[in-house]
Amino acid sequence: MKKETAFSILEGLKNGSIDFEDYALKRLEIIQKKDPIINAYISLESEEFIRDRIKEIKDDLASGKKMKIPGLIVSIKDNISTNFLPTTAASKILENYVPPYNATVVEKILNEGGIIIGKTNLDEFAMGSTTEFSAYGVTKNPWDITRVPGGSSGGSAASLSYGSADLSLGSDTGGSVRLPASYTATVGLKPTYGTISRYGLIPYANSLEQISPMARSVKDVSLLLDVIKGYDPRDATSLNYEYKEFDEKKFKICVPDEFIEGSENPIKSTIYNLLEKIEGEGIIIEYGAKFDKLNYALSTYYTIAFAEAASNLSRYDGKLYPNYNEGHSYREMSENTRRNNFGFEVKKRILMGIFALSEGFINDYYIAATKGRRLIRDEILKITKDCIIAGSVSPVLPPKIGERINDPLKLYAMDIYTVVANLAGVPALAMPAGFYNNLPIGIQFMAGPFEEKKLLALGSFIEDKTGLYGIIAGD
């Protein structure tokens, strides 16, 4: 297996053993070779743009500017606004839309010397768990092209997995970076709500989602987190905070049955094996803890997400964006535009969201869900005070393309373990735990608010132990 981490590339670029241009243009070459099959990208930068960008970075370096990721290749999920590449959220309704501004995180990456190589595929408006609901085609799993890469940040995960980028930004509304990470042997961290600016993230469910760093190792994820974190006055939900310092090498991990027992057998045994392997040396593991509220998590999560989505997506009526259909009146124009340019899954979620907010139903649906959410959050905060929660990322191995999307209940059930962190607003890390029949299996860790450093320290310790980092599929 070929191993390549952002840290090793950064080191090579610094000491001159890797040439900036050779390296970046080689990524473009890899994309040109592999992406026609994988379809991780919706739009790509040109060779010329990348050469200019490298010149800029070299000038900055020459003038003594300190940067965290100079020369590293970053791919960005196509629901994060960039003023130099279209931002479609994988929807036809935003075809050819180039935002007049950059998301805060994009500004930060550029400022730290990152080279943004392209925008990655996703489920339309991040609504999905497989990246099959994109208006720009399905993304395939580089480990097995008959299978999905997970979603909705499947393009980002695949772009890392086949070695076209060193770092990637996804967004995580209910597991959207963790699920793809676990399906592609990459790493994804969903940070504490309010610690990464959402300014420029095309909203799906505002109260749940965070832009999230992805990479091929836990240490690389820490590097990217360090670039994008921080208070942003342009986001009213952004917090003025510091992640909690963590430097002891002691971890208490608890494994509630509910977070693992419902998983397929190969997943369970891989995770239990890994836990056994890391026990001792300052790691205490407790089994059998209870989290009896998991039953409500999915319905709570989807009710809130759909309601917010229905509201957020009402703006796409053809009047402000390049792609629209004509009509004899405003009403006809907006109906035609929405009918022809939203995908089926998006329409379904909008309708369910409207239902959850309608008079006569809002109390039983949306309001009830916000109450359920509070109960789940309180419970998670209580447990994570004492230990890091460990469990599965997904209850199933990467599904075959087409296997899940026609059965919504089965599709939504893939998120059972991941939505909890979004409902509670706490950080959660997904990283490789092992393989089964050459298919990646991930493990999830969840900690208390602002305990990112603790999670990343644990993850880093584990990847050193397992050697499962920097893996590039197919090489």
Binding site: I80, S81, A89, L94, P99, P100, Y101, A103, R198, Y199, G200, L201, I202, P203, A205, N206, S207, P233, R234, D235, A236, T237, A307, E308, A310, S311, N312, S314, R315, D317, K319, L320, Y330, R331, S334, I354, L357, S358, E359, I362, Y366, I367
Partner: protein, 477 residues
């Protein structure tokens, strides 16, 4: 015609035109001076990913208004989304503060005390609530009318401008009171620095009227306080007539046609609109106390407080109110009295004579720069109290010149001359007029006074004194 009892309630939508910024972005709150779609940004265009961050200034102004009407101000405000599809609403939802579904408005209950200048007394109406919301953009039709036009033009310069919606209980007793209440409300907001009510479209009133035995009728889109009174008078007349003829008044919404001076029915909706209200997840609850403290760190002189101050100087209620209604004149009064000017003289200059001259010459009385400086007023006042000139000499000779040059008074002071020689000369020249006067024609006296003033060529002469001297001279003959 019979007289039926009726009650009026109001919903006043005021723009916080003076807040400098829009409600959730830093674009200009006074959008009027811009070319279409040049006072916009990703936030007020509602572009995906751009986030609303409540700006402090509009919130502070709204809280100051709420505070000045003794509102019950909640500890937190919560913004909600109200959804409806409309071309001029960029996001197809408006951010407002709807109470149901989790919203918390800036004011829950207050009292609007307002002055009735005709009866010279204070009245009041209960405020049900006030809430802050964003104004939509504007739709303009190519042929000025939706039915005739092939195209509509959208201008989002106004999109996101802060609105304060003020709702009263239905307890106002007359159309005139409704007008006075709104005028007083706007005046208060002007003193606070929240609104310039003279800007086109800076406020809009929806009024509801229910006459005894009938259902509530709402009249929408009234654009001036004068129209408000007219629309209400018309509506009461219309409803009374229906009752008189044995008809029933049904619940409906009507539209005020200010050109024809009538209300017209709006298409009635079959069902209640479904707005899908819910708390805006992009905007956490906002603590009101710190904002209110900041707002109150500057003392707001509301019209009632200013009126009390002016009355303390022994000015009549009528004159005091007249000063209060023109903010610069009230402020100037207090400033010049504070540095020693005579209150009665200054009140008369500001509330009557100088204001009259400004109006006649088309000057904007609401622009502070068009008024004389307080030092100038003090000087005028002492010229009169020290008997250097009489009030009328100042009024006729100096005030008109101040309109052109309100900085420097010494150059305007007329040379004082002794009238006797001028008078004798005029009496010698105007034999016929003198004869007329002797034979009892009173108009001849006015003519003679006029001739003397003409001869004085702008030098200071007191017309009353001239009159007196002529009369004495005539009697002697």
């Amino acid at each position: 015609m019979i007289r039926l009892k009726y009650k009026i309630g109001l919903e006043i939508h005021t723009q916080l035109t003076e807040s400098k910024t829009k409600l959730f972005c830093d674009c200009d709150s006074d959008y009027r001076k811009y070319e279409p779609n040049t006072n916009v940004c990703p936030i007020c265009l509602g572009l995906p990913g751009a986030l609303p961050v409540p700006r402090r200034n509009p919130l502070k102004l709204a809280l100051a208004v709420a505070d000045s009407f003794n509102c019950e101000i909640p500890d937190y405000m919560v913004f909600t989304r109200k959804h409806y599809f409309y071309p001029d609403l960029p996001k197809n939802y408006q951010i407002t503060q709807y109470e149901k579904a989790g919203g918390i408005p800036v004011c829950l209950k207050g009292i609007l005390r307002f002055f009735d200048p005709d009866k010279l007394l204070w009245k009041s109406v209960t405020l049900r609530r006030m809430n802050i919301e964003e104004d939509p953009g504007k739709t303009e039709y190519s042929e000025g009318n939706i039915l005739l036009s092939e195209f509509a033009y959208l201008d989002y310069n106004r999109s996101g401008v802060p609105l304060l919606e003020i709702v009263t209980e239905p307890e106002i007793e007359t159309p005139k009171d409704a007008r006075k209440a709104v005028e007083y409300l706007l005046l208060t907001m002007e003193y606070i620095g929240a609104i310039n009510p003279r800007l086109e479209g800076s406020f809009r009133v929806d009024a509801n009227v229910s006459v005894e035995g009938g259902e509530r009728v709402e009249v929408k889109n009234i654009g001036s306080t004068l129209d408000l009174e007219k629309a209400l008078k018309y509506e009461i007349f219309r409803q009374t007539k229906i009752v008189e003829e044995g008809g029933k008044i049904k619940r409906e919404t009507r539209h005020w046609d200010s050109i024809r001076g009538v209300t017209k029915p709006l298409r009635s909706k079959e069902t209640e609109e479904e707005y899908l209200y819910f708390p805006d997840p992009d905007i956490p609850a906002i603590e009101t106390k710190p904002l209110l403290m900041e707002a109150k760190s500057k003392e707001f002189l509301t019209p009632d407080k200013i009126m009390d101050k002016i009355l303390m100087y022994g000015v009549s209620q009528k004159i005091a109110w007249s000063l209060v209604t023109v903010k610069p004149s009230a402020e100037l009064f207090l400033e010049s009295v504070r540095i020693g000017a005579n209150p009665k003289i200054i009140a008369r200059i500001l509330a009557v004579d100088y204001k009259g001259l400004m109006k006649k010459s088309g000057k904007n009385i609401h622009d502070k720069n068009n008024w004389p400086k307080k030092e100038v007023l003090k000087e005028l006042s002492s010229l009169i109290t020290n008997k250097v000139y009489t009030y009328d000499e100042i009024k006729y000779n100096i005030l008109p010149k101040l309109l052109e040059n309100n900085e420097n008074i010494s150059s305007l002071l007329p040379e004082r001359i002794e009238p006797s020689n001028l008078i004798i000369a005029v009496l010698n020249e105007e034999k016929k007029a003198v004869q007329d006067l002797i034979s009892g024609k009173k108009e001849a006296l006015d003519y003679l006074v006029g001739q003397v003033l003409k001869k004085a060529k702008g030098k200071a002469l007191d017309p009353k004194l001239v009159r007196k001297i002529i009369e004495i001279n005539i009697k002697k003959t």
